[in-house]
């Protein structure tokens, strides 16, 4: 899942970085037919802005990728290794049966530093003036510092979660592997360290910033200061509970949630827990008893659970 402005020109045309000029030409024609004005298949699909952006980027892709000098410079900028010899392109996208993606998903081309730096929010492709009519890829801004590496977890984790009913293309499969590494929640790990994936941005912590009383109330055991934005693990909930001098049966009695569920929450036995929609209510009740922000606790815990279950192999 990448924004149009963040996709490489190869991804815009959905061709591999190895694609020979003829294939790029074909892909361009296909893209024009599909996304250009008058296309039935995309009628009313996109907003006018988005359609304009996409069409500008398609033109840009043609201009750059069909000019070998410009393409070479572009490849260098996005980190594509130079092509020694033109490698035969993967079979051109033809009409296959159902389920065969068409056009095939552009191979991500192993460019960990995609165009984010180039066309980032300044959206070089958005204004027609910025897209070079001729072989002048330098109309794109020169690469600045990578400003938006943040978007990376998103596209990575998507294919992993997508149901793989149909044969995934190798590219998708590849892309699907790595995200398993950063995401898996490791139950029982140091609960009190702020999760690295949850940076404390004012934006993220501003709404419903209720855990402020927490620090105050939990002053007794000082190691229970909960960093803003930390992930709420089962272990952390257990510590807060014990710090408050509450036992599981007491909580169970007050919340009417079976002790069994409470134990599984604290032990993070995700597979044994009820479906998220029920669990959320349970977590809210539990948080209320612990005088924590139910929204944050439930959200954080449900996210950990979703990530862990997505990462664990099928049962």
């Amino acid at each position: 899942m990448k924004r149009l402005s963040d996709q490489t020109l190869y991804e815009i045309l959905e061709v591999s970085v190895e694609a020979p000029p003829e294939e790029i030409e074909r892909a361009y024609e296909r893209a024009r037919a599909l996304y250009g004005p008058g296309s039935l298949a995309t009628y009313t699909l996109m907003s006018t802005d988005e359609a304009t952006l996409l069409n500008n980027r398609i033109e840009e892709a043609k201009a750059v990728l069909l000019d070998s000098d410009a393409r070479g410079r572009y490849d260098e900028r996005i980190g594509v290794r130079p092509r020694a010899t033109p490698i035969p392109a993967p079979p051109a996208a033809q009409v296959h049966g159902a389920g065969t993606p068409w056009p095939p998903p552009a191979s991500p081309a192993a460019t960990p530093v995609p165009e984010a730096a180039i066309t980032s929010s300044t959206a070089a492709g958005a204004s027609p003036s910025a897209s070079p009519a001729g072989p002048a890829p330098m109309a794109l801004q020169t690469p600045i510092a990578l400003q938006t590496p943040i978007a990376t977890p998103l596209p990575a984790s998507l294919p992993a979660a997508a149901p793989s009913d149909l044969p995934a293309s190798p590219a998708e499969a590849e892309a699907g592997e790595p995200p398993a590494v950063p995401t898996p929640a490791s139950p029982g790990t140091a609960a009190l360290t702020p999760s690295p994936a949850a940076p404390v941005t004012p934006a993220a912590s501003a709404p419903g910033g209720a855990p402020i009383p927490l620090k105050h109330e939990l002053s007794a055991p000082k190691d229970l200061l909960v960093p803003e934005g930390a992930a709420w693990t089962g272990e952390m909930l257990r510590q807060v509970r014990t710090a408050r001098g509450l036992t599981l049966p007491q909580i169970s009695e007050r919340t009417k949630v079976t002790r069994h569920h409470l134990e599984n929450i604290e032990g993070e036995r995700f597979a044994a827990l009820p479906a998220p929609v029920y669990l959320r209510g349970i977590l809210m009740s539990l948080a209320r008893e612990l005088r924590l922000d139910g929204q944050k606790v439930s959200r954080s815990f449900l996210e950990r659970m979703a990530a862990a279950l997505a990462a664990s192999p099928k049962k």
Binding site: M1, G99, W102, A160
Partner: protein
């Protein structure tokens, strides 16, 4: 498909603690005792007259002939006519009896269709007020449909983008989107599938408490597309963005192009899948195209389903193919059975 907790829209049991939001479990998870995974398939598409009922009926017949036990549910509560496409009289008992609680068990509404393994729950309604069931009535209906002891329950949805229609579509294992290659139908299909998508987004946001975050993102920036929206969320909160993307990836409609008159018409389906991926960053499965066929029209006039009257025509074979693809999706380890 049990690798991620799948959020669905309808509760299986009453749950006072849960918010107004609705959800059900994945069939495979919730009912481990039942060896066979039950599937709910709904057929929608936004526009009227694009063949939803005919597709439901013929797909039901095709699946039944492959040995699956199928129930057709006429969920077009305001304009039920599925019985007519099957050539049977308006059944004595219909969903209105169930919705009005004159009967308790939906199984009592089951009507034989004359096709082995296939029965019908008719939606033909006597009372207008039952055409727009209240939320609780809708939930009860869905619970009972989920509990039917069949392999496939096929819901024939009404036109439009009413929340009733969207919720039926969203709880389904296979939400089939019907598209006719005409601008009006394309427009309505996109409106329908976008409405379903945003409803799912809203449900996910409520469940995980992303409402404030989403509101902030949608106010603060002029996002252009769903991909843009999710990316912006991810910039502010990577965890939330990743989870949002994961939950939304479960939204995976199955596309059927109906009334294809030319080979280019059939390719529209592939183009829609590609464009949907590019714009929404999500997948759609193309089940195939059904040729425009006068035999179809004749069959309707005779009040006989095409697969009963003329199974050998091109459109009839298309239904067989679509049924095979659905079966293949439901058992990835097994190749589609030869027709």
């Amino acid at each position: 498909m049990a690798d991620a907790p799948i959020l669905k829209l309808v509760q299986v049991v009453e749950e006072p603690q849960a918010p107004a939001l609705v959800s059900a479990r994945a069939p495979g998870r919730a009912r481990k005792a039942v060896p066979r995974a039950k599937r709910i398939l709904s057929v929608g598409g936004g526009k009227g007259g694009i063949g939803k009922s005919l597709i439901s009926a013929n797909l039901g017949i095709a699946l039944a002939r492959k040995g699956k036990r199928v129930v057709l549910v006429d969920a077009d509560l305001g304009g039920a006519n599925l019985h007519t496409t099957l050539g049977i009289e308006p059944p004595r008992r219909t969903l209105s009896d169930f919705i009005d609680r004159r009967i308790d068990d939906i199984e009592e509404v089951l009507t034989a269709t004359g096709v082995e393994n296939l029965s019908l729950i008719s939606g033909a309604l006597d009372h207008l007020e039952a055409a727009t069931p209240k939320h609780a009535q809708k939930m009860r209906l869905l619970r009972h449909v989920q509990a039917l002891d069949v392999d496939y329950a096929i819901l024939d949805l009404g036109a439009g983008t009413h929340t009733n229609v969207l919720d039926f579509f969203l709880i389904s294992d296979h939400g089939v989107l019907v598209l006719v290659p005409e601008p009006t139908a394309v427009e309505n299909a996109y409106r329908f599938v976008k409405a379903a998508f945003w409803r799912r987004m809203r449900n996910v946001a409520q469940l995980y408490g992303y409402d404030p975050l989403l509101r902030q993102v949608m106010e603060g920036t002029s996002f252009k597309s769903p991909v843009d929206l999710v990316a912006t969320v991810a910039e502010r909160d990577p965890e939330a963005g990743a989870n949002l993307a994961r939950q939304l990836a479960q939204f995976r409609p199955r596309l059927v192009v109906n009334q294809a008159r030319t080979p280019q018409d059939a390719e529209i389906g592939l183009a829609v899948v590609a464009a949907w991926r590019k714009y929404f960053g999500l997948e759609m499965d193309y089940l195939g195209a059904i040729e425009y066929d006068d035999e179809m029209w004749r069959a309707v006039r005779l009040r006989r389903p095409l697969l009963v009257a003329r199974p050998e025509v091109a459109a009839g074979r298309a239904f067989e193919l679509i049924a095979d693809r659905l079966l293949a999706m439901d058992s990835p380890e097994r190749a589609p059975e030869p027709p």
